[in-house]
Subunit: 340 residues, 2 copies
DNA sequence: ATGAAAGCGCTAACAG
DNA sequence: CTGTTAGCGCTTTCAT
């Protein structure tokens, strides 16, 4: 790293024998500069090794060329795909991506929203896990446009992209269709994921006139493989083993399946298992895991595009809500035959 | 998003009946301000809803409170752990993380280094895949401190963190120790990963007085599962099936194993397989994959700490090179018995 | 087509 | 302890 003696547009101007404003025009490709002056200046820029200071420019233009993506934890295998898609779109717009992990922690989530103004960003894509009370209010007071991933009512000043229906409803539907009659649930705290992962369970049962049994519900402390393992231990010890399990996500499903099999319980023969997220692991694990895809890459791409539209157009255009259709990918963990 | 009418420290100063500098002192927690004035100012800040403009501050202080992490592709399962660790350390220092994907593409890599100055960053953690010719030169001319992940000679003006020895050497060592005598290689282009992944193969053979056979080498177009699958097809068609495969990374190993088993070839009984990276998938796949860990989280944490040290101390302290000891995690893909 | 000058919002000497 | 005064490096009227 060479401590470049910060050459400014003033230095360039002097060297080229022109005014600062002329240099500015040239580095910003503003038309109406005589070729001969342009050449003089270009030469000076070259000789001095001038690099525009974008901070100074930002101060003037109030554009920061950065957006942020706030998620709970990039290590959750669902996010790299999302983050990648967002970075792609950002790059196309000449923007950079700031990555923020909030751990699904309510106070961290709000803290990000509260401190947004100090983040050098022109907009933010926000994915909430804990959906704190004050979320709407904070978003409505945000200093830059917000694009939400996930649904949050119509009285929020943010574009949104979310799924047409809870992923869980597809999972339950599938389990019923393949003939399960005693379906269990395994996941993290009920209120997480805005409560929808769990809610789909109760709803799925009632829609199909199946009785709800408290014993068939396992609630772990998070949505990790570890929770799946604990769920397997719990469910296996039940007087009556369920014949299907709706796992709140694929990590839980994978842990669950693994432990069930260690215990000699066959998947899907004895118990069919369906997860949510369709992370790549699901097709690597054995048996491959049936899962509901929430379209991570697609979601990221669309969210980023909505955000840039908003950044460009400001409040002038009305808010968008883009809905994506979740899909179930049927694999070995829920059917007897082997599938691709 | 409320279009706050940008209230500045001048507004606050006027409202509180003090000078701008006093306001500045207060928002920067500079001691030596009478409590009563502080209160007046705090009140004004509150009433006006003043938020400091960090861009303006940056222009003055030349500190941007951001670092960047440049990697090839966040979707490679090795990186989320790394990125997460880096973001943790950054957050501890009150910094944000800019994520840059360069796709292991030489020109993209150089482009990042060249355009660093416009990224609002105080430093960058750089991981090269393609190691272009001009890399050193670009790094030495960088406008902010660079911390390299991976080794790149002593004449580079950058702190570095890298492994004490190529991961591949451990992989080869292990295969030999468990009795393999006809070892194959499967990976992406030889020159990638600075050529070390492949080099370890030839070296491992020669160290153990094993003949090199061109036929035992499969070079795919990248380091994906797809390459592993192609490698399996290729190796299975060989007149003599190898009894061990050193895969350049876990994705290749997983694809390879999966396809071998589809073909009725048993792993590890017929062919033992070892991968590199120890991504979490390796313990989820069946059989679980033996892998050499390159300590992603540890690497990220240390790189970030070196970078912050450098940002704080400038050129004053000498360059550091931290070496980490890779470890092999033996799992089912290379031993007959089941292991945890 | 180019120059002069006035800031963007903040920090940091230097006075007082 | 607080106020005054210069800028940081750039963009952008407004003149010329």
């Amino acid at each position: 790293m060479t401590k470049a003696e910060t050459v400014t547009i003033a230095d360039v101007a002097k060297r080229a024998g022109v005014a600062k404003s002329t240099v500015s025009r040239i580095i910003n490709d503003i038309p109406g500069v005589k070729p001969v002056t342009r050449n003089k200046v270009m030469k000076a820029i070259e000789e001095l090794g001038f690099k525009p200071n974008l901070i100074a420019r930002s101060l003037k233009t109030n554009m920061k060329q950065q957006i942020a993506l706030a998620i709970d934890d990039i290590r959750n295998p669902f996010y790299p795909e999302l983050a990648w898609a967002v970075e792609q779109v950002a790059k196309e717009h000449g923007y950079r991506l700031v990555l923020l992990n909030h751990y699904g922690n309510a106070s961290e989530e709000l803290s990000i929203l509260r401190r947004m103004h100090e983040m050098h960003i022109d907009g933010i894509i926000f994915l909430s896990i804990s959906y704190p009370q004050q979320l709407k209010q904070y978003i409505n007071h945000a200093s830059v446009p917000v694009c939400l991933i996930g649904k949050l009512g119509d009285d929020v000043n943010a574009d949104m992209v979310y799924l047409t229906k809870p992923e869980g409803s597809l999972a339950m539907e599938h389990l019923v269709r393949i003939g399960c009659t005693n379906i269990a649930y395994a996941g993290g705290p009920k209120h997480m994921h805005q409560g929808t992962r769990y809610a789909s369970y109760e709803q799925g049962l009632s829609v199909n006139f199946m009785p709800f049994k408290e014993a068939n519900v396992f609630i772990g402390s998070d949505f990790s493989m570890q929770t799946g393992i604990q769920a397997a231990d719990y469910l296996a010890a039940l007087p009556q083993l369920p014949d299907g399990v709706y796992a709140a996500n694929d990590l839980v499903a994978i842990g669950l399946i693994q432990r069930l099999m260690e215990k000699g319980i066959r998947v899907p023969e004895d118990v069919a298992v369906v997860g949510v997220d369709d992370i790549s692991w699901s097709m690597i694990a054995r048996p491959r895991v049936t899962s509901v895809s929430n379209l991570a890459g697609e979601t990221g791409r669309i969210a980023a595009e909505l955000l840039f539209k908003r950044i460009k157009e400001g409040q002038s255009t009305s808010l968008s809500q883009v809905q994506l259709e979740p899909r179930i990918i049927v694999r070995e963990s829920s059917v007897k035959v082997t599938m691709a």
